[in-house]
């Protein structure tokens, strides 16, 4: 690197970087001693998504004259929430000289988004103890916290109290918020009951929200029905190419025949000899793996021996390979010694369990394990 005189960066440069979203470069400039102003901080807090960056920028704020600014501190809370560190957010919150409603809302939302809805609800309790009057916004945050805390009942209680205790009319967003609570808590069928009781005609958006939850919870029948409903309301929503859902074998829920089916009188008496399941079972038993402690060359007792086998180096390597790569990709292991008989046996079965090809090169030969078998033909 040549050493030309580094032109002294100006505040304007910093602001430009912030506006261009170049967080890293901006922080570098600040590390060199350039002091940020209000506008820079304002923009940086909105940008940081890494905790490391967030902490740095926050530190610079604490060294600056803007440190006490309410709006900037609120943004810091929001930033920490985004960086998944509610502990840091809370520290800022606790030390703030003054707070406004936004501060509270940001904290509760932050907790909710970080799966800490419970803390959010506790904060709401604290807010009420301080006699702060909740607003429409507050309840949106509270509902979000309820969804995160798996607290359906509480959501209904708070929803009712809006009108009853605080005289706030529930808006469309609050109803949608309730649907989110139900959806997040796995109350899938209950969403429909709730929609039916809505004081207004449900919009396409509401049905779409419901359909999305049906999809999340994996109920294909419900998803199909809702999609049809949505398309009937707004034909532009029709999905281009959709695989038709296969018909279910039994429609128990609607057939009105419950208790009439006498299928048990005709089927599954005793196990069939050629039962594929039974066969597979036998096959597995034959290839079955029982820890073979004979291969451990240490003086340790039986149980410890089984443990030692479990943690042989090749297995550790395989386990690490598994958790670090996508399903069904091949793993390649290299071992400096000959693979022991027990591991060979175990890895064979492992290849079947994990559905991957496991290739082990030991100091003698290659072993390609696939689907419960090894290329070496069990000769190692």
């Amino acid at each position: 690197e040549a050493e030309p005189v580094i032109p002294v960066a100006s505040l304007a440069d910093l602001l430009r970087l912030c506006q261009e979203g170049k967080v890293k470069e901006a922080i570098e400039l600040m590390d060199k001693g350039l002091r940020a102003d209000y506008a820079c901080f304002d923009s940086l807090f909105g940008l940081c998504s890494k905790l490391e960056d967030a902490k740095k920028v926050h530190d610079y704020l604490l060294q600056s004259t803007c440190r006490g600014d309410l709006r900037l501190n609120n943004k810091v809370i929001e930033m920490y929430g985004r960086c998944e560190s509610m502990t840091d957010a809370r520290r800022v919150f606790d030390h703030m000289p003054e707070r406004n409603m936004d501060t509270w809302h940001l904290m509760i939302h932050g907790y909710a988004n970080n799966s800490l809805g419970d803390e959010g609800l506790q904060l709401f309790e604290q807010m009420r103890k301080l006699d702060l009057k909740p607003t429409e916004e507050t309840f949106l945050a509270v509902l979000s916290a309820c969804g995160s805390a798996d607290a359906v009942d509480e959501a209904f209680i708070h929803f009712k109290s809006m009108k009853n205790d605080f005289g706030i009319d529930q808006q469309m967003e609050h109803y949608v918020g309730m649907i989110d609570v139900l959806g997040k808590c796995g109350f899938l069928n209950e969403i429909e009951q709730y929609i039916e009781k809505l004081p207004f005609d449900p919009s396409v958006e509401i049905w779409e929200k419901y359909m999305n939850y049906a999809r999340i919870h994996g109920d294909v029948d419900l998803e199909d029905r809702l999609e049809e409903l949505i398309v009937s309301m707004d034909p532009s929503k029709a999905a281009a190419k959709k695989i038709p859902t296969p018909p279910p074998v039994k429609r128990t829920a609607v057939s009105m025949l419950e208790g009439k089916s006498r299928i048990a009188e005709y089927r599954y008496p005793a196990l069939y000899k050629d039962d594929p399941k039974l066969k597979e079972l036998m096959e597995l038993k034959n290839s079955g793996y029982v820890p073979d402690t004979r291969y451990v060359l240490h003086d340790i007792d039986q149980e410890a021996k089984e443990q030692a086998l479990l943690y042989h180096s090749e297995r550790l390597a395989i386990a690490y390979g598994l958790i670090s790569t996508p399903a069904r990709t091949t793993l390649r292991i290299i071992k400096n010694l000959r693979i022991c008989g027990d591991c060979h046996n175990a890895i064979k079965i492992m290849s079947r369990i994990v559905g991957r090809e496991l290739i082990v090169r030991d100091n003698k030969r290659f072993h390609h394990f696939r689907d419960g078998k090894c290329s070496c033909g069990d000769y190692w």
Binding site: Y268, L271, L281, V290, L297, S313, T330, F366
Partner: protein, 447 residues
């Protein structure tokens, strides 16, 4: 060359620097006997003329000569005395240290060098590879890339060897892509190295693709693929290529037969194996090396024919090594014949009392037969002799790095998850081994 030089001196023709460089190179090429005695003589002559200090090429040739003759200290003296050094001098000395197992000094010199060129890097990497420090070789290659030195095809070959040995398939693939963009992309040696690398990483398919795309092939290309296929258990394909290479006019050498025999033993083709062995010894007059006998013992042992295996050992001209006896022991295991195994082993242990793997095999054999006293006796003996089992380690390449593990290793960052997944796996294994679906069967019956 030495005689010629003597004549030259006698005929009073004044030797110049070219003469000396040629001479010293000649000495370096025969480091065993002639070079060792003749080299210093030439040095003395050169010294008289003062060429050793003033002429950089002559001086370097001296350094090289001593380095290759295993007298790296003298090489160093020559180097230090050189008044002008170029990068070749440095490289030569580094190579000298590398050759003489003084890696630390070599690395230190490398760091001291005023300017490192591609050759310096290559030397360093190749030195590491030769001594089995594959990780360091790969590390150096990464540094080389950072330093922006362009690797040449020699570097590539060294790095591919390191990849092959450490199973760094990811880097191997990267190098393959890199090679495709270079002028030397059709270099046969590089292709051979690629085949070797892929085969030794277990990617037989890719090895074959490289092979198929080659414009020209040498015997080594065929051998690389052949042995790769055989070692990976693709026995029939290996033999097909073995036939194919002969159809294309290549005469198989010892390595080719190692591949063919390995394939036969893998697939249990006893007759074919025997046929190939005869072809090699009788028709092609290749005298079999120990690994060929090893294959034959393995072949018979796998086929369960202990007698034939033993006959091979009896007839071979050299002593059986541990690999061969290992095969024999494995055969004993299938016969559950510990008495024979004991005999074999006692002999092996007598031959090589400090090779740990012999004890391990024997102990496992005893244990396998349920003879616990025998197993612990072996273990006690190992302890008494102060022999420690070589620690086993396994490595796996994930993303850009290679992760190594020893048994019971908890040092890895992800140890907790690794052990978690192993627990789950062990549970599944037991399910498959024991009675897995009792509870489901109930439901199944009454559905």
């Amino acid at each position: 060359a030495a005689t010629l030089f003597t004549q030259m001196r006698l005929s009073a023709v004044e030797p110049n620097h070219v003469t000396f460089i040629t001479l010293l190179s000649a000495c370096a090429d025969f480091p065993k006997a002639e070079g060792r005695s003749f080299g210093p003589m030439v040095h003395a002559y050169v010294r008289k003329l003062g060429l050793d200090r003033h002429h950089v090429m002559v001086g370097t040739a001296l350094v090289k000569m001593y380095g290759k003759c295993g007298e790296v200290e003298r090489a160093r003296v020559c180097f230090d005395e050189l008044e002008v050094r170029n990068s070749v001098s440095w490289n030569t000395l580094i190579d000298g240290y590398m050759r003489n197992d003084e890696m630390d000094v070599a690395v230190q010199l490398f760091d001291e060098m005023p300017q490192r060129d591609a050759v310096s890097w290559t030397l360093l990497i190749d030195g590491f590879v030769k001594k089995g420090y594959f990780e360091q070789a790969l590390e150096s290659f990464r540094e080389m890339q950072v330093s922006k030195a362009e690797p040449d095809y020699v570097t590539i070959i060294s790095v591919l060897a390191a990849c092959a040995n450490s199973g760094a398939l990811g880097l191997g693939l990267w190098i393959h892509r890199y090679v495709l963009k270079q002028e030397f992309r059709d270099n046969i040696r590089i292709s051979n190295s690629l085949i070797d690398m892929y085969a030794r990483c277990g990617c037989v398919e890719l090895a074959r693709q490289v092979f198929d795309k080659m414009l020209n092939r040498t015997l080594v290309s065929w051998n690389s693929l052949l042995v790769g296929l055989a070692a990976n258990g693709f026995a029939e394909e290996a033999l097909r290529y073995f036939e194919l290479m002969q159809e294309q006019g290549f005469v198989p050498d010892g390595v080719s037969f190692t591949g063919a025999l390995t394939a036969c033993s893998h697939a249990g083709f006893v007759e074919e194996g025997q046929k190939y062995f005869n072809l090699m010894t009788k028709k092609l007059k290749i005298s079999p090396r120990i690994e060929h006998y090893g294959c034959m013992v393995d072949l018979h042992s796998r086929a369960g024919n202990l007698e034939a295996a033993i006959k091979v050992i009896e007839t071979m001209p050299m002593k059986p090594n541990e690999v061969i006896l290992g095969s024999l022991l494995t055969a004993c295991r299938t016969h559950e014949d510990t008495a024979v195994a004991e005999k074999v082993m006692s002999r092996v242990v007598d031959l090589q009392p400090d090779v740990d793997s012999n004890y391990v095999i024997l102990a496992n054999l005893y244990a396998g037969a349920g003879k616990w006293e025998g197993a612990s006796k072996v273990r006690r003996k190992m302890k008494a002799l102060g022999i420690r089992k070589t620690p086993g380690f396994s490595s796996i390449e994930v993303g850009p790095s290679i992760h190594e593990f020893v048994a019971g290793d908890k040092s890895h960052d992800d140890a907790e998850h690794i052990y978690g997944i192993l627990q789950l796996l062990s549970h599944d294994l037991k399910l498959l081994g024991y009675d897995p679906q009792a509870n489901e069967q109930d439901v199944y019956q009454e559905q």
